[in-house]
């Protein structure tokens, strides 16, 4: 199996988000950058499946750190699509990734279900469309079955869809599919000599221009402090029901 794993470097989940002065993004000072957690699941899955594996990441120079983490976990090779100081939208990103994937002749393309910075959950589907491959998104059960991949995903109402897909296929991974390993010290040492192929985003865009822009970054409205109800349980409950009915009007 020849697997490509698409990963993105993002601010750590614990990051305190500070909006920059002109509201065009977040303040990146003092931000710790990591591989997006759902991408870790995809990396782990590729390692468990075995065969040839390559991680592909599109991002600025600092993305190399996330790439090194994937290599240290056990991925064999990497491609870094360097974006320099530019920001690209989902369609441009998918276009560049698709071009690299087409060159590579991969059977299986894995990624996390969404990158935890922009929470778009879109690039894997766009890649699938651009390489004319089927897709199964947000997968938490996966099994290689001969020349097909069996997957399972949760849909509305607690139900599940089951697929059995011929290769090549694009699959995005949900938490629970596996437990990502920590990079071992030998893994970290070995990663230093694994090949990282450098490419430039502008070479891979086919002239694609941004279709959507993000602006007016802001913090969500703070919830005002509410009432803490006093008295015996019976009184508290009575007062609560009264407030829900007459004040909040939600029952």
């Amino acid at each position: 199996m020849k697997t490509a794993v698409l990963i993105k470097q993002v601010p750590d989940t614990e990051t305190k988000i500070v909006i920059n002065a002109d509201k065009t993004g977040i303040d990146e000072n003092n931000v710790k950058f990591v591989m997006s957690p759902y991408d870790e699941v995809a990396v782990e899955q590729a390692i468990q499946i075995g065969g040839e594996s390559t991680v592909i990441s599109m991002g600025p120079e600092r993305s190399i750190e996330a790439i090194r983490t994937a290599l240290a976990m056990g991925i064999q090779a990497a491609v870094h699509i360097d974006t320099g100081t530019e920001n690209y939208d989902m369609y441009q990103t998918a276009t560049a990734l698709a071009n690299v994937i087409k060159e590579g002749g991969y059977d299986l393309i894995l990624s996390g279900k969404q990158a935890i910075d922009q929470d778009n959950a879109s690039v894997p589907q766009m890649v699938a469309e651009l390489i004319s491959a089927p897709q199964v998104m947000v997968v938490d059960k996966m099994e290689v079955a001969g020349d097909k991949i069996k997957t399972n995903r949760r849909i509305s109402g607690g139900a599940r869809e089951a697929y059995e897909t011929s290769l090549p296929v694009v699959i995005s991974c949900e938490r629970g599919l596996n437990t990502p390993r920590y990079a071992s010290l030998p893994g970290i040492m070995k990663a230093k000599s694994k090949p990282v192929d450098k490419k430039t985003a502008t070479d891979l865009l086919n002239g694609a221009t941004p279709l959507v822009q993000f602006a007016n970054y802001e913090l969500p409205p703070e919830r005002a402090a509410g009432k803490v109800l006093e008295g015996e349980p019976e009184q508290q409950v009575e007062e609560l029901v009264r407030l829900l009915k007459d004040e909040a009007k939600v029952i």
């Binding site: 929470d119 089927p134 993000f214």
Partner: protein, 326 residues
Amino acid sequence: MGDILIFVEHENGKVKKATHELLSKATELAGDVGGTVVATAVGQGLDALTADLAAYGAKKVVLAENDGLAGYNTVGYTTALAHVVSEVNPSVILGTASPLGKDLFPRLAARLKAGLAQDCVALSVDGGKLVAKKPIYAGKALVDATYSSDIQMATTRANSFPIAAPQDGATADVVKVTPDVGELVNPIVDIIKGDGADKVDLTEADVIVSGGRGVGSLENFQLMADMADVLGATVGASRAAVDSGYATHDMQIGQTGKVVNPKLYLAFGISGAIQHLAGMRTSNVIVAVNKDPEAPIFSKADYGIVGDLFKIAPLLTETLKKVTSA
């Protein structure tokens, strides 16, 4: 702005509530800037939906009938909708950020080379184009998406928009198209029904009764279920409760679980860690019951009770029974 095309989600012959929200919002937006609200559904036996769609605001309904698409199929629906889009020529395409919507819309957006914003919580128009507000960084920030593409697409989080009263007897122009989607690529091989089949999905629920580690056991979660029955609510859980085995993962609300947006969120024995708040912070009204007066959830709750949930929950269920049956 040209026409606004709403992708209809339906189940067992009924239009889903979140689609009604979109029809209401689209009617409001179209009222500001001109353009017609057009609803489109894919599948078979779609005639049953048209009266409802018209009642909730569709002026035109496009039914993409194809027996092969009675069940969902990503590539098939993408092709069918691309066909509808070429007939309708909308400037805006809206859908729900459901598992289906989130799977489909990016593929359609790439097919159409259209800009897309997923999981939006607000929509407006500026200079004749859509502005879609969406959460980022797990809801720690919000951002406005604006579009350079002609077609502007967005999926929206359920419970983001009020539903206007239906106009019974309203009519819409109905157009039927039969898109050729060729042989189905990667069909679903099985659908496995879940326990929650008769309950509203957490992500679409108006009312949620949620239990945390304080509930103490799987059996005790029955207290949550009892209250949910009275309120017509869905039961959710914190990660701590799921990790302790008191609830299943599909009930988990939070940064690593589901993001919910109900009118009313009742939290029992939930401390209110940031990761949990990430999943329910946009709830309209939050009620918290916890024996720890320092629990962080009290700083986010509209109404708080410091007390023993094992006393409060059953009392509350009883009192609610009287109120809701009155």
